[in-house]
């Protein structure tokens, strides 16, 4: 058969069979024992033409409610932010997206340099000494931070705040389980990590304290105090951080973090039903040789020209094999590129401005909710999310909001006991005052 992705003609095949010295392609499969040979046709859908398939899949896509048509107040780790249009133009250059891992630096300088720049931008935002080339996502990056800490301290207990994203905590537990590491939850109090409880839980077998900044409830944790407690007990301090928030918040690196991880999705990466996004992993110098995944470093060629290579590979799975402490092989290079372009477009002033707008809009929403008689958790130390007592089932509320073209907040009763009727609303810079007002009014109306 001929197909647009396969150029071999019948004549080509004949010539090639001749060179090989066989008469039929089947002979090349003769080593597959008959007992396991698959002889029928695969029972999968027949091929469709380009137009027919595009039409079918467009119809399927139209069944979904997307954030271009609806005003979305859903966040909880994935956000609808300004995506500079230039991002897609850059990542659509197929020299980037059809390349593999840059194992041949002479013909991969573009990718390597782009990643080197990504590493630098992550360092700038987080205040850490170095960052790797990216991880699968924020959740698995946090999990790898936990296992790194256990390996580094040779201790087997992780203390994870209840205010860390519930799905990330699940992933931390799964990873820890593989290596017989115990995961203990630090309870929250009023939406932030309960420091008194943390003091009681800390012991000389604690490998690390893991918190989120801003946390799952949108509250900005007082990192320094938590970090000091961790360090006093010889534990590492791990912070999972939304990098966009760091446009206005003090970087974790200045507040004692040994490892800062997170997801760069807020920078130019679409929601995509939860993935692929782009984890980042940044550390202090002392942990440089423990970092999982790929690192790009600067060097020179024999003529003194500056160039970039994958470096410190002795840490990685393909060299260490069963001595490896992480099995990560791929990264999220294309999404790291997208994030780099978005961070570059925003630049020094835009990174501050967008973070500031997120704060201001959320603050406005908080006041609007309070004015309308709703209770909002916590004071003013929030970033782009707030917890609101909706005074009724969030599931029901969201159904009614949807009819008004609004995607409501995250139903906290799904993951937190005692948070019935509470929703987590995300208010990014993309939400207009009108949309915020409409949300509050709609909730008032529903309540009345």
């Amino acid at each position: 058969m001929m197909h647009r992705y396969m150029p071999m003609t019948e004549a080509d095949r004949e010539e090639m069979l001749n060179v090989i010295g066989i008469s039929s392609v089947d002979e090349l499969f003769a080593d597959i024992p008959e007992s396991v040979r698959f002889t029928r046709d695969l029972a999968i859908k027949e091929a469709k033409s380009e137009s027919a398939l595009l039409k079918e899949l467009s119809r399927l896509a139209a069944k979904n409610a997307d954030s271009k048509q609806f005003a979305s107040f859903l966040g909880a780790g994935v956000y609808d932010h300004y995506k500079p249009i230039i991002v897609d133009h850059v990542i659509s250059r197929s020299e980037f997206y059809t390349a593999y891992t840059p194992y041949q630096p002479e013909i991969s300088q573009g990718e390597l340099q782009a990643i080197f720049e990504f590493q630098t931008m992550i360092c700038e935002l987080t205040g850490m000494d170095l960052a790797n080339s990216s991880m699968y996502d924020g959740g698995t990056a946090l999990a790898e931070a936990g296992t790194l800490a256990a390996g580094h301290t040779k201790r087997k207990k992780l203390l994870v705040s209840e205010t860390v994203h519930p799905e990330s905590r699940d992933v931390v537990r799964s990873y820890a389980d593989g290596q017989q590491i115990e995961v203990i939850t630090i309870p929250q109090k009023d939406g932030v990590t309960d420091v008194e409880e943390l003091k009681k839980l800390l012991a000389d077998d604690t490998a690390a304290v893991l918190v989120q900044y801003p946390n799952f409830f949108g509250q900005v944790e007082e990192l320094q105090a938590i970090g000091e407690l961790a360090h006093d007990n010889g534990a590492l301090f791990v912070v999972s951080s939304n990098p966009l928030a760091l446009g206005i918040l003090t970087p974790p690196g200045e507040l004692g973090a040994d490892i800062t991880v997170g997801d760069a999705q807020p920078f130019g990466i679409p929601e995509q039903f939860g993935g692929p996004h782009c984890g980042y992993f940044a550390v202090t110098k002392k942990l440089m040789r423990k970092v999982p995944g790929r690192l790009v470093g600067e060097t020179t060629d024999d003529q003194g020209r500056r160039g970039y290579v994958l470096t410190l590979q002795a840490r990685e799975q393909h060299i260490r094999r069963d001595k490896a402490t992480s099995n990560i092989c791929s990264n999220q290079a294309l999404n790291a590129l997208a994030a780099s372009v978005a961070m570059t477009a925003l630049g020094k002033t835009g990174a501050r401005e967008i973070a500031y707008q997120n704060y201001a809009k959320t603050h406005y929403a908080k006041q609007a909710f309070e004015k309308a008689g709703f209770t909002v958790l916590g004071g003013n130390s929030h970033f782009n999310e707030i917890v609101v007592d909706c005074k009724r089932s969030v599931k029901e509320l969201n159904k009614q909001l949807l009819e008004q073209g609004i995607i409501g907040g995250y139903d906290l009763s799904l993951t937190y006991a005692g948070m019935e009727n509470h929703a987590l609303f995300a208010v990014t810079e993309q939400r207009t005052k009108e949309e915020i007002d409409a949300l509050v009014q709609e909730m008032e109306a529903v309540h009345a």
């Binding site: 080509d12 997206y97 791929s330």
Partner: protein
């Protein structure tokens, strides 16, 4: 000298330039220093670049011109399946109804996306011969680990807690032993025999009641089909272990043999390889895992189900190994894979395998006279040459790989698998034309001649790239992992 350097984006930055367009704030301004504790308010802006939109586009266009992708030229990187990345995939992934949907929306508002995921699971079950598939793992290595965690849970659920070992052939991908370690197992290496296949006697000697699983790539990394697979399955199953299939090389056997029919209990697939991901310069990937019925209870949660025509995520999976990734895997990548499978259909996928294997065998036979071929039988989708002969003349495989760059080709995977001296692992894929294969073969033959007649030209290659061989020792010894602006003192020196 320095003007030859491609500037970093930070070096073209100029204070005051901007490249963004934010809407003016339509709510009252706030005073952060009054609302947030002083210690939490950032004092100094992150030193991100200050550039115009055209600066950005020129910068990244220049970088892309310093990068080789499949769209640039032939990329026969063994075990990586560098096939053409169809453009319809990119178009589909950018449809707003797929690109801009939130993972935590009410299920009723994402039925279209869930239908894609479910139908893909069904397709992958049929292609692999497995009973259930999870799309959650983000990449191949992540899938390996996921499946091993399930196998561990399976044994533990049977009260079988002494199974601490995972058997891995010496030709395996590096991720196999690493995944086993990260999943809490000890790795035992099984040797290959003189035909490049798993040594059955060695397997028999090493399998036992402490065996949790055997991890196997079939065809293996030499591109050879493990003919004794059923016997191996019998040995491992007989000892109470499970059989794990590394799907990195599935492009070689689609429609010809299915892991599920070969006795495998679990399989991971690299959708970014066989199913046109794309590779993205190193990721994102997607690494679904398929399992047989007796492992299904341990799948990561949530499990995607279809009930009365409605798609739902089932979180009530009591024996699940838990979550391996937030949300539901790399949807944007498996959506592309789904688009590819639907573009190919059953006949197309069969032709993929046949053409991929034909291309590899054609290249192997044409190159055989010029290089050592340690395993001379027919190969599958890839084959491994040895540069032993050339090494004796003082030219290493690495040199030949670098010389290929001068011909505009991406070199094969080199020094892998570990059981071939000076190995060159070549995987052409089915999307390349005979003309392309011939021009690559001609280049290889010319290089073999150069090794005999003019070895310096090979040893000093590449000669035509934007940069020559880089000092990797320096990079590792004095790591520079981020840009730091030159201090005034350094500027004066320069």
């Amino acid at each position: 000298m320095h003007n030859e350097n491609q500037p970093l984006i930070f070096e073209v930055s100029k204070p005051g330039r901007i490249g963004y367009s934010l809407t003016d704030l339509d709510v009252p301004e706030v005073d952060l220093s009054a609302l947030l504790p002083n210690s939490l308010v950032r004092k100094e802006d992150a030193a991100l670049p200050e550039v115009s939109e055209l600066d950005i586009m020129r910068h990244y266009t220049a970088l892309s011109n310093r990068n080789h992708g499949v769209d640039t030229g032939f990329y026969p990187l063994g075990s990586c399946t560098m096939k053409y990345n169809p453009k319809i995939n990119e178009a589909v992934a950018r449809i707003p109804g797929f690109a801009n949907i939130h993972p935590l929306q009410d299920e009723s508002t994402v039925q279209g996306a869930m239908e894609v995921a479910y139908d893909l699971q069904e397709h992958l079950c049929e292609i692999t011969g497995m009973d259930e598939v999870t799309l959650q793992p983000a990449a191949g290595a992540h899938g390996e680990w996921t499946a091993l965690m399930m196998i561990r849970s399976f044994h533990e659920a049977n009260g079988d807690t002494g199974r601490t070992k995972v058997l891995v052939p010496d030709s395996a991908h590096g991720t196999n032993p690493a995944s086993a370690t990260v999943a809490g197992f000890d790795t035992v290496t099984v040797n290959s025999d003189e035909n490049g296949l798993v040594d059955i006697e060695d397997l028999k000697a090493k399998v036992g009641d402490d065996t949790a699983a055997l991890m196997l790539t079939n065809p293996n990394t030499l591109g050879l089909f493990e003919e004794h697979i059923m016997e191996m399955a019998k040995i491992v199953h007989g000892a109470g272990g499970k059989l794990y299939y590394d799907g990195a090389n599935l492009n070689a056997v689609m429609s010809k043999a299915r892991p599920g029919d070969m006795g495998f209990d679990a399989v991971h697939l690299n959708l970014h390889k066989t199913f046109t991901g794309p590779h993205g310069g190193g990721g994102p990937g997607s690494g679904p895992v398929g399992v047989k019925k007796d492992l299904a209870a341990f799948l990561p949660k949530p499990v995607l189900e279809k009930n009365d025509g409605v798609y739902t995520f089932n979180y009530d999976v009591p024996q699940s190994i838990g979550r391996v990734k937030p949300f539901y895997g790399n949807f944007g990548i498996y959506l592309r894979a789904y688009t590819y499978i639907r573009s190919m259909g059953p006949d197309g996928l069969k032709a993929v395998t046949e053409n991929a294997v034909l291309n590899a065998n054609y290249m192997m036979r044409r190159l055989e006279p010029f290089f050592d071929l340690p395993y001379p039988q027919h190969c599958k989708h890839e084959f491994v040459l040895s540069g032993r002969r050339q090494k004796k003349l003082g030219v290493r495989t690495l040199d030949m790989a670098k010389r290929l760059l001068d011909f505009g080709f991406h070199p094969p995977t080199v020094y892998f698998p570990l059981n071939v001296e000076e190995g060159m692992m070549i995987e052409p894929t089915e999307t390349e034309s005979k003309e392309t294969l011939d021009s690559f073969i001609d280049a290889m033959i010319q290089i073999a001649k150069e090794v005999e007649e003019n070895p310096e030209i090979v040893q000093e290659a590449p000669h035509t790239t934007v940069i020559s061989r880089l000092d990797e020792t320096k990079a590792a010894r004095k790591p520079v992992l981020r840009y730091t602006p030159a201090t005034e003192e350094e500027l004066v020196k320069a």
